[in-house]
């Protein structure tokens, strides 16, 4: 076999979640990405987030397109079904899957090439339809598997490994999502697990399309001096605007905040997201103000991170369609067919 299974060693001392499962139960096969790849840190954060919120592993549906990032859906929660589809088309698979069963938890993992070039159209339409899914972009500004071409998220002036500078303007997924009406828009950094884990949990709880754009340096092709997506550059220029704490329903709020510092946002299932403003000029519930501020900061080469915009009470894809609570894939056949009697009535219109 040319993929590696991780040996399951159940250490008796490993902590267990509410389902009695350990973190190991949320892992997948061994990563085949480069050592030090930012994507592996994101995989670890997803694993931690799922374990932490006691997600039933089989209820997680993992979807992806093509590219380094898209491979990672095999590297976490092996108890959930995975679908590694074709390049840039994961949003349509997600749309169909969600249409068929609205009860499961959907996570799509994509990259900057997969989302912003070949898949830009499907990405936009998944936002427009407000598909209830967590959509993560592992954004490194570069095509890894084909050895280092610029992607559509590469910044002007950022250089390739051999020194060639990029001259075309980037497409920013956060600004794109905001302008399309996305209801949960976040940015983070693969090296900041503390920020990433609660963001992922909040994204899962959001009813509708939740985007997390994660800056995730490519150690092999885009981690050199002159790159604006390297570890060094990102660490220096990322700037947390809003810190997010995820509070599950019934969980006691233990964090202490100064008065007026925290904006609690209640999700549809009663869980809460606490948005702690780090940057006092920032307002994460005002779409146009958020847009303007993020854009201004980007021009100054500052990546604002955190839950940058949220609109918690929204109607999603199924609400718009008027589908029942029961998933369409389990509606009994008797309810779907009008039978021979019904057919007689229908045929009378064609005589």
């Amino acid at each position: 076999m040319s993929y590696l299974l991780k040996p399951k060693v159940a250490h008796p001392g490993l902590p267990k979640n509410e389902l009695g499962l350990t973190r190991r139960d949320y892992e997948g096969t061994m990563s085949t990405l480069c050592a030090g790849c930012g994507h592996d840190s994101i995989t670890a954060a997803i694993t931690e987030a799922c374990w932490g919120m006691s997600l039933e592993p089989q209820n997680l549906v993992k979807l992806s397109g093509i590219g380094c990032s898209s491979k990672t859906t095999a590297y976490f929660v092996s108890g959930g079904h995975g679908f590694n589809s074709v390049h840039g088309r994961m949003p349509s698979i997600a749309t169909g899957a969600y249409a068929a069963n609205r009860e499961l938890q959907y996570i799509g993992v994509s990259g900057d090439g997969d989302t912003l070039s070949i898949g830009l159209g499907q990405f936009c339409h998944a936002i427009r339809r407000n598909i209830n899914m967590l959509y993560m972009i592992e954004n490194n500004g570069v095509y890894g598997l084909t050895k280092g071409q610029f992607s559509a998220s590469a910044d002007v002036g950022s250089t390739a490994k051999k020194g060639e500078p990029n001259t075309q303007k980037p497409i920013d997924p956060v600004l794109t999502a905001l302008s399309l009406g996305a209801t949960f828009v976040a940015r983070s950094f693969s090296g900041d697990k503390e920020q990433l884990v609660p963001l992922i949990q909040a994204g899962f709880k959001h009813k509708g399309f939740a985007l997390i754009d994660v800056l995730s340096p490519c150690v092999t092709f885009n981690d050199h001096e002159g790159s604006t997506k390297s570890y060094a550059f990102t660490r220096e220029h990322y700037h947390e605007a809003v810190h997010t704490d995820f509070v599950a329903p019934m969980q006691e709020i233990t964090a202490k905040y100064a008065e007026g510092e925290v904006l609690p946002v209640t999700m549809h299932d009663g869980s809460q997201v606490h948005l702690r403003k780090i940057d006092h000029n920032y307002n994460p519930v005002d779409r146009s103000a958020a847009y303007a501020y993020i854009q201004r900061k980007l021009a100054e080469h500052e990546f604002l991170t955190g839950l940058l915009y949220v609109e918690p009470t929204v109607t999603d894809f199924h609400d718009h369609n008027g589908t029942p609570a029961q998933p369409l894939n389990s509606v009994p056949y008797e309810k779907l067919s009008p039978g021979s009697k019904g057919l007689q009535k229908i045929l009378s219109r064609y005589r």
């Binding site: 993929y3 108890g79 088309r89 899957a97 068929a100 009860e103 029942p324 389990s330 779907l336 009008p338």
Partner: protein, 612 residues
């Protein structure tokens, strides 16, 4: 003037109505056809319309056929010329002894001149201008007025026409009144000025009991409802659009819970065909019966996903309502030119299951079959209809439904079944028929697997190992062999001990059947095989073995069906002779008769045997 006896054709003639697109003539034409149908007389209707909203010429052909033929004969007996722009070509098209009817508000006696046909002028515009107000009403009513003219000339039952107008516009009293008035205007004027009925006319029969008039897209949509499809995704494209329109309209009536008002279906208008097929695959992978209707350009776009569905073994139902290619081609004309595209869609070694309905009746039954096959075989199934079947109203026997039907979900393991296994592996061939077991997301952690279009092992893992890769690819080939044994078999009409055979698919069937009758009358005996599916069953090669020459009738330039037959059966290439028709109009019986006669007619009769 042609003599009346020569013109005598009762219940056996073709009318062609030439109008301007966007003037509302479609409802008048449907009205005429349905009235004849309700008189118990078999009828065929074909709409030749432009890819245009308003202004270009359009024609509608109504063939009255006491023998119940369903194709074009190739001849036109009556032209209703309502479009001055096409007078010249319309005049030419009438067969000798026929009639041309036109709007004589503006007499064109110099232009419309032929000694071997009868020209009838009715001042329709004048009549409508005198009786209706407003430009739009006058244009619309002119159509109903020519229906009145034809009713008088052909002895179409006025009561049936009125009954139909009442059914159509029943809720809008003023519309009913206006339409009835226009109908009477045309009818009365003609009765007063022309000797009615013509020698060519309609006499009531009782040959339409137990039949309906329905188009293939509507019938396929109904098939989707009965198959239990819940997710439909599409991107609008002529001529497939009315399939999803039909599905929506049926579901709005039949699939909305009366208590809650909730919809047990979802229709998704995708951003393009790439997304449409992606949505179908996502939904079907997740356990819903899902489909997409499209046409050739859509299939071209869907190729990549079709390869994924083949390799990752995801069921899907795709309707290709074929139109004229290549490229945009002629979007409102018919062809059978996507056969090769569909059979081997996508890169790499792929082969797909195809079904070829021949009429709306089969669109219904084969649609249900397509969903069962897709899930049984865990692969895309493409239903290759065409514009002629999809968008024209065909006379079909009443559709029937067996209430004992249960959808065949194929090898799908439940949670309980998975728990009984030591381990679940998605692609292990436990039954040695090439078909493996699948599970749905959400069932149990033990049931999970990873779906991918990259190289995979029979256990579902990623691989670049030659042996592991080939094991899966070889199994897929075995699965296609299993598929060949599950397909609806070809329908073979062994009419005699003849050495000549004809093969056809889909909408060519009606024309072939009529051609065989004509050939028989001329002493040429031919056997017939209509193929209904790909992969081909054994009976297809057996038919070839039993005949010296087999004509392959198809509606494309490059003999695609013949190519597929030579690739996929052991038949010698030279045995198969092509009869090709690719004008964009549906094939006529005349075309087939001429094609066969050219090869096996005079001097070649030794191989035809006696037709008895």
């Amino acid at each position: 003037m042609p003599d009346r006896a020569a013109q005598e054709r009762i219940n056996d003639f073709a009318i062609k109505i030439a109008t301007v697109n966007g003037t509302g003539s479609a409802s008048a034409n449907t009205l005429l056809m349905k009235a004849i149908f309700r008189m118990g007389v078999p009828v065929m209707g074909k709409n030749y319309f432009p890819s245009n909203i308003q202004g270009l010429p359009t024609w509608y052909e109504i063939r009255v056929t006491k023998d119940g033929y369903v194709a074009r004969s190739g001849r036109i007996d009556i032209i209703v010329a309502m479009n001055a722009e096409t007078y010249v070509r319309d005049l030419k098209e009438v067969s000798a002894g026929g009639y041309l009817i036109y709007d004589s508000t503006w007499p064109r006696s110099a232009l419309l001149k032929r000694d071997d046909i009868t020209i009838i002028g009715v001042p329709l515009a004048k009549l409508c201008n005198e009786n209706f107000q407003g430009v739009r009403a006058r244009i619309l009513m002119k159509n109903i007025a020519y229906a009145g003219v034809l009713a008088a000339l052909l002895d179409i039952d006025m009561e049936k026409l009125k009954e139909l107008l009442n059914e159509t516009y029943g809720k809008k009293a003023n519309l009913v009144a206006a339409n009835l008035k226009a109908l009477e205007l045309g009818h009365n004027y003609t009765r007063e000025h022309v000797s009615c009925p013509l020698a060519m006319h309609i006499k009531p029969l009782d040959k339409t009991n137990g039949y309906i008039m329905i188009d293939g897209n509507t019938a396929a949509a109904l098939g989707c409802v009965y198959a239990g499809a819940t997710v439909g995704a599409w991107y609008p494209i002529t001529p497939s659009t009315s399939l999803m329109d039909g599905f929506k309209s049926f579901c709005d009536k039949l699939r909305v819970d009366p208590q809650t008002g909730k919809k047990n279906f979802m229709i998704i208008q995708a951003e393009d065909e790439l997304a449409a097929i992606g949505i179908v695959l996502g939904a079907a992978w997740n356990g819903a019966r899902a489909f997409t209707p499209t046409s050739g350009p859509g299939i071209s776009l869907m190729n990549e996903f079709l390869g994924l569905a083949y390799y990752a073994e995801v069921p899907a139902v795709i309707f290709d309502v074929q139109r004229v290619g290549p490229s945009t081609g002629m979007p409102t004309r018919t062809q059978q030119a996507d056969i090769m595209l569909c059979a081997y869609a996508s890169h790499g070694d792929t082969r797909h299951v195809l079904l070829f309905p021949a009429n709306p009746e089969e669109c219904f039954y084969l649609t249900v079959k397509a969903f069962d096959l897709a899930e049984r075989l865990q692969t895309p199934v493409m239903v290759l209809s065409d514009l002629d079947i999809g968008m024209n109203d065909w006379m079909c026997p009443d559709l029937e439904w067996d209430d004992s039907y249960k959808p065949d979900r194929g090898k799908m393991l439940s949670k309980e079944e998975v728990l009984k296994l030591d381990k679940f592996f998605r692609f292990v061939d436990r039954d040695e028929d090439g078909i493996t077991y699948r599970t749905l997301p959400g069932v149990h952690p033990k049931a999970s697997y990873f779906t991918r279009g990259s190289g995979h092992t029979q256990y579902g893992g990623y691989t670049e190992d030659s042996t592991e890769y080939q094991m899966v690819l070889d199994r897929l080939k075995r699965k296609f062999g299993t598929a060949a044994r599950m397909m609806p078999p070809a329908i073979i009409e062994q009419r005699g001990p003849f050495e000549v055979g004809v093969v056809a698919i889909g909408s060519s069937d009606g024309a072939v059947r009529e051609a065989l009758d004509i050939l028989k009358a001329r002493g040429v005996g031919v056997n017939y095989m209509r193929i209904r599916a790909f992969p081909f069953g054994r009976e297809v090669s057996d038919f070839f073995d039993k005949h010296e020459i087999v004509f392959v009738v198809e509606q494309n330039r490059d003999a695609q069906l013949r190519s597929l037959l030579t690739l996929e059966t052991p038949v010698e290439k030279t045995k198969l002779r092509s009869i090709l028709h690719y004008s964009g109009l549906s094939i006529s019986s005349e075309c087939i008769v001429n094609g066969i006669m050219a090869e096996v007619g005079e001097g070649r009769s030794r191989i035809t045997g006696a037709a008895s």
